[in-house]
Symmetry: C2
Subunit: 332 residues, 2 copies
Amino acid sequence: MKPLRIVSFGLGPIGIRAAALIAQKSSLELVGAIDIDPALAGKDLGAVVDAAGAAGVRIDSDARRVLEETKPDCVVHCTSSFIPNVREQLEVIIDCGANIITSTEEMLWPTLQQPEMTAELDARAKARGVSVLGTGVNPGFVMDTLPAFASSVCYDVRHVTCRRYVDATTRRLPFQKKIGAGMDEGEFRSLAQAGKLGHIGLRESIALLGAALGFDLDTIEQDVRPILATATKKTEYLEVPAGRVAGIHNTGFGAKNGKKLVEMDLRMYVGCEDPHDAFVFDSTPPFELRIPGGTSGDFATAAILVNGIQSVVAAAPGVRTMLDVAPPHLLR
Amino acid sequence: MKPLRIVSFGLGPIGIRAAALIAQKSSLELVGAIDIDPALAGKDLGAVVDAAGAAGVRIDSDARRVLEETKPDCVVHCTSSFIPNVREQLEVIIDCGANIITSTEEMLWPTLQQPEMTAELDARAKARGVSVLGTGVNPGFVMDTLPAFASSVCYDVRHVTCRRYVDATTRRLPFQKKIGAGMDEGEFRSLAQAGKLGHIGLRESIALLGAALGFDLDTIEQDVRPILATATKKTEYLEVPAGRVAGIHNTGFGAKNGKKLVEMDLRMYVGCEDPHDAFVFDSTPPFELRIPGGTSGDFATAAILVNGIQSVVAAAPGVRTMLDVAPPHLLR
């Protein structure tokens, strides 16, 4: 089969990993790269992402020009977490006739925050015959699509609890900063209140999983608290003295008529001693699942964005979710 | 949304459970039931499957008559493990314009045993605009589609081992007989050699998972051995004295150029003390997954056949696999 033609859009930490991975896949051909950072414009993608297979692709800040020149089958899009920030970018890609797989967390279940923009994007994508899919490891896999798929072997599911405990010790510095490692509690709380800290997408995970389980949720809430270090913890980049913030505890739930049906428990902190992903159904028959060690965050998001390309290319046109495209699997 | 109209075809142990489950789902309407057993013909399905929601549906042995009268959206088909045995049944259903979800183990990856029949069924289904899907818990979920989906969060997978250890102690008597519980070793080996014992579908699981991981396998082999009881074990139905057969150990592998890439280890026996499903990837990043207690066999196959109805109805026409339909999830 002819390789699919791919353009990378957005060369932040995830976009760079995704581009390097695309360059390794014989079923994919990296034909263009877009980033709005003027410092990157004109540079060779191979040097920026440190992958020989990406050499010869020049980074350009003009999305429309790249897309019209390269006519890709699919764009791997990693620029922002929020739909209003990416809307125009997605419109340009759709208008150029390319499918889209995006790390934009709100696009996992886009009707939750932006039902009108989603309806417009959906109509636009259908008119142009292309599909748009939001995914990632979290949101996108461990706390939503994986338990959704597992529910297929159950007669009934009455309640689900998902846990994800991540040890931030060996993660990259921006990740350690994102979870507040090293801050004092007051600083953490004011940043968290301003929405400048923490994980994005827990609400979307709850919405997707609630829909998959047919819960018809009327309430989705979340809360962010600091996890304080009980002893001094060191990483390659920073030190967390006892009493300061080691990381974040993000909880959330989906409820119907005051009854919690979906509960989420996400902890990401320096010094986590039992990292794992897990979920437990209150179900017939009983079912629980555990991923010892947990699913590697940075790698896994880049991987599912790239491995998911075939699913979005094969999907019916429109804004899709992980519940209505074929399950991604390893692409070679 | 209007409920999907469903016909049950085949009322053996799995078919009965599936029919009872369909009757509970508000998104599904049980409109007909087919079984070739003359003892069942004319009986009320509600009485046979012991489900009030199935009452009023008369069991009929004439498939074409039922399908022409009821015009179902989908048929849940549970009659035989082998494609040659079900081929004519599937053709009648396709010709009547209904989608099919089937427990026929060989249909999980039908090109493995019957490439020509599969091509004919595929052409016939496409001409009639309907889809055909084989699934179940094993084959269909734990040792194939679930690890295939999990591979989406990996950069690369070099090898996979899947384990499923089932405690047969509390399973139904036909299951205990199927795994040889209580036999002497000689009887087990001669029945196993004649293909009259054991699990069907391990080759199909290997083929699906190998394809999902891009391994391009050239060899698929399996082996069946008895597990002997080391002490006397009792179930509700039978006793296994020490030294006699407690159950079955079914191993298999898929290889390329003499190198094993997919390995399967399936044990189903009376007295299994650590029942679980698990798989381990040799991968980047490392990944393993465990289902403590394991996925309940009888329930889970009926569940995924019923929960998968929406996926097969929404799929593109033709013979499909679990890799190219939307992942099933709980239907209400």
